[in-house]
């Protein structure tokens, strides 16, 4: 779909990083990737592959989980981000939407969205306009604007978290599993929003996803992570055509989509493990 988007200069570069939790658990074993300016890059991989860890390493949120980048470098616009205050990164335009809908439970939906604009200095009017924009993207949020976020449904919370990130007027969003727990048409809708924001405002995305199908449809480039290593990378279109990706990530067999009923426990070995 968008696979042919031109590869522009890299906005974010992750260079061979290693992450250790608690001083003992080695999770990332040398991950490198780059996100081009104005591109949508997706990070695919199974559970525990290290997607979230990668995103947190970038946004410097690892520290509070007793994790640390022990090797390698991360550069945003050519400058090292390690050791910086997460808030500073937000000010410079990188914001993360965390996995698992971290909304402020006791704040109302609207207050949640407003916290997204915390670092902004461009006046009330601009913020209010963006609030309207977010409400236009997510009409459901408008309905529930006065409810405490803690009492909204899972999907509503996810929208709230994404809306909150948009409120900061970022240049780059690190989006961790936006589709998780969302109804299909919402997933579609959210990815449409990602796409339109990307196109309209030139926002770059780094998108960790399990929903490979959707992710590869919308992204320009992709990386596949397994057990803390990048095992495959390339243009989304190419990845979609790769037979292994097809079988293991898209659930397609040669005859088209497999039914979940027919899955056997025996599986072909992944080629890159060979």
């Amino acid at each position: 779909m968008l696979d042919s988007a031109p590869i522009r200069e890299p906005l974010l570069e992750v260079n061979n990083i290693e992450v250790i939790y608690n001083h003992v658990i080695l999770v990332l074993k040398g991950v490198s990737l780059s996100v081009p300016k104005g591109g949508i890059t997706t990070l695919l991989g199974g559970n525990g592959a290290g997607k979230t860890t990668t995103l947190k390493a970038i946004s410097n949120l690892l520290q509070s989980e007793r994790g640390a980048v022990t090797k390698g470098s991360i550069k945003y616009k050519g400058e090292t981000v390690q050791g910086r205050d997460p808030a500073e990164l937000v000010r410079r335009g990188v914001i993360q939407v965390m996995e698992g809908r971290h909304c402020f439970q006791h704040l109302t939906v609207e207050e949640n969205l407003m916290t997204g604009a915390y670092t902004r200095r461009d006046g009330k009017g601009a913020v209010a306009a963006d609030l309207e924009m977010v409400y236009d993207y997510f009409p459901r949020l408008r309905e529930r604007r006065k409810s405490q976020a803690g009492y909204t449904s899972g999907g509503e919370q996810q929208m709230c978290a994404i809306g909150r990130a948009l409120m900061s007027r970022p240049e780059m969003i690190l989006l961790d599993e936006p589709s998780m727990g969302l109804a299909p048409q919402l997933v579609e809708q959210i990815f449409e929003i990602v796409k339109s924001v990307n196109e309209a405002e030139g926002l770059s995305f780094l998108l960790a996803e399990q929903n490979t199908n959707v992710a590869l449809r919308f992204a320009h480039t992709g990386y596949i992570l397994e057990s803390g290593r990048v095992v495959m990378e390339g243009l989304a279109a190419d990845l979609r055509e790769n037979p292994d990706v097809k079988e293991f990530y898209l659930g397609m067999s040669d005859e088209g989509r497999k039914s979940f009923r027919d899955v056997r426990s025996y599986r072909r070995r992944k080629r890159w493990l060979a």
Partner: protein, 358 residues
């Protein structure tokens, strides 16, 4: 390679459930026991008994009681000292009303009273959670201390309002009171504390332990998978207060010899909480480590200037001591919020994979 677990296979679930599935742990424990039962008693001076060995054991026991409640069942308690007080006063009343009673039996029975009081003050935990629950335990804390002060029957109407441990003998040996020998008291404490530790280990690794931990971690989910929260919380209060009560009785009868009501005031509760937390919530071993640190540290710090020949006024030593304890608490919380026991666990993990870094 000293600490290798590889090669120690378990062939039955029974073996897997043995207390020390790793051989090295069992050896280590053996060494500690030899020290506790043989080496220390032979080597220790009166001062060591009175300021280190006996109090460390008793504090560790009290912290263990608290740990059951706070560390395992997740119910924050700031009233430990008051429950210790209940144990101590119950024991005092028993031995003065029934002087023929065996002192050890009295000590073990006194826990029953604090268990009862503990359950009563635990009832609000069914509705109140987190820090709010602390209020219930604080109410117990302040109300009970007030009661110890006002209810003259508890201290046999004596003029000072303090209780004084009479000389108590067992098989012709004084075990409590001014005439009792420190060595004897040490052995009594060690025996009781060892047995209680064993029981605690059993309780916490079995069904009840899992019930408590489930209640602690996600109480809603716990209830939804079939745990009766009321029962779980109240048994935690009961077991915890029992142990704490016994620790209180030991505290006064085997160590202090006398007690005023305000001995059981909140600073003591905090002290025990420190021990439990620095040692590690949800760990049995941690209570000992915490007690060694919190009881031992000030003693060591206090003797340090003299030993080094640095002339510092003792009040200054004390100020510095208070500061150091405060700073060390923060320090230990920072290096390992889950306590010394967790630190030990991490060291073990490192040892297991040693000499490889990961």
């Amino acid at each position: 390679m000293l600490y290798r677990t590889a090669g120690q296979f378990k062939t039955s679930y029974k073996a897997d459930q043995a207390l020390f599935p790793v051989k090295q742990d069992a050896i280590l424990l053996g060494v500690i026991l030899v020290f506790a039962w043989v080496v220390f008693p032979l080597a220790a001076s009166e001062f060591t008994f009175q300021t280190l060995l006996i109090p460390i054991l008793i504090y560790a026991l009290a912290a263990m009681g608290l740990n059951i409640l706070t560390g395992y069942a997740g119910q924050l308690s700031l009233g430990t000292a008051a429950f210790m007080g209940v144990g101590a006063y119950a024991c005092y009343k028993m031995v003065t009303l029934m002087p023929w009673m065996n002192p050890i039996v009295a000590i073990l029975l006194s826990g029953v009273f604090s268990a009862g009081v503990g359950v009563a003050f635990g009832i609000p935990s069914l509705r109140i959670k987190g820090f709010y629950l602390a209020i219930a335990t604080l109410a117990a804390q302040f109300f009970l201390v007030w009661l110890f002060e006002k209810w003259a029957w508890l201290y046999n109407y004596n003029a000072s309002g303090a209780i004084q441990v009479p000389n108590l003998e067992m098989f012709g040996v004084y075990v409590a009171g001014p005439q009792a020998d420190s060595l004897v008291q040490y052995y009594v404490v060690l025996a009781i504390v060892s047995v209680m530790t064993m029981l605690c280990i059993n309780l916490t690794r079995g069904t009840l332990g899992r019930t408590w931990k489930a209640t602690r971690d996600v109480d809603i989910a716990a209830e939804l998978i079939g745990i009766n929260l009321m029962k779980s919380k109240l048994t935690a209060f009961m077991v915890s207060s029992y142990i704490v009560g016994v620790a209180g009785a030991l505290f006064v009868f085997m160590w202090r010899g006398a007690a005023e009501p305000n001995l059981f005031d909140i600073p003591l509760s905090f002290r025990i909480l420190f021990i439990a937390i620095i040692g590690g919530l949800g760990s049995i071993l941690g209570n000992y480590l915490g007690a060694i640190l919190i009881v031992g540290l000030p003693v060591v710090l206090g003797t340090l200037p003299a030993a080094l020949g640095v002339p510092i006024a003792s009040s200054m030593v004390e100020h510095i001591n208070v500061m150091m304890v405060g700073a060390l608490i923060i320090f230990f919380l920072i290096i390992e919020p889950h306590g010394l026991a967790q630190l030990w666990r991490l060291i073990r993990e490192k040892l297991i994979i040693w000499p490889f870094p990961h």
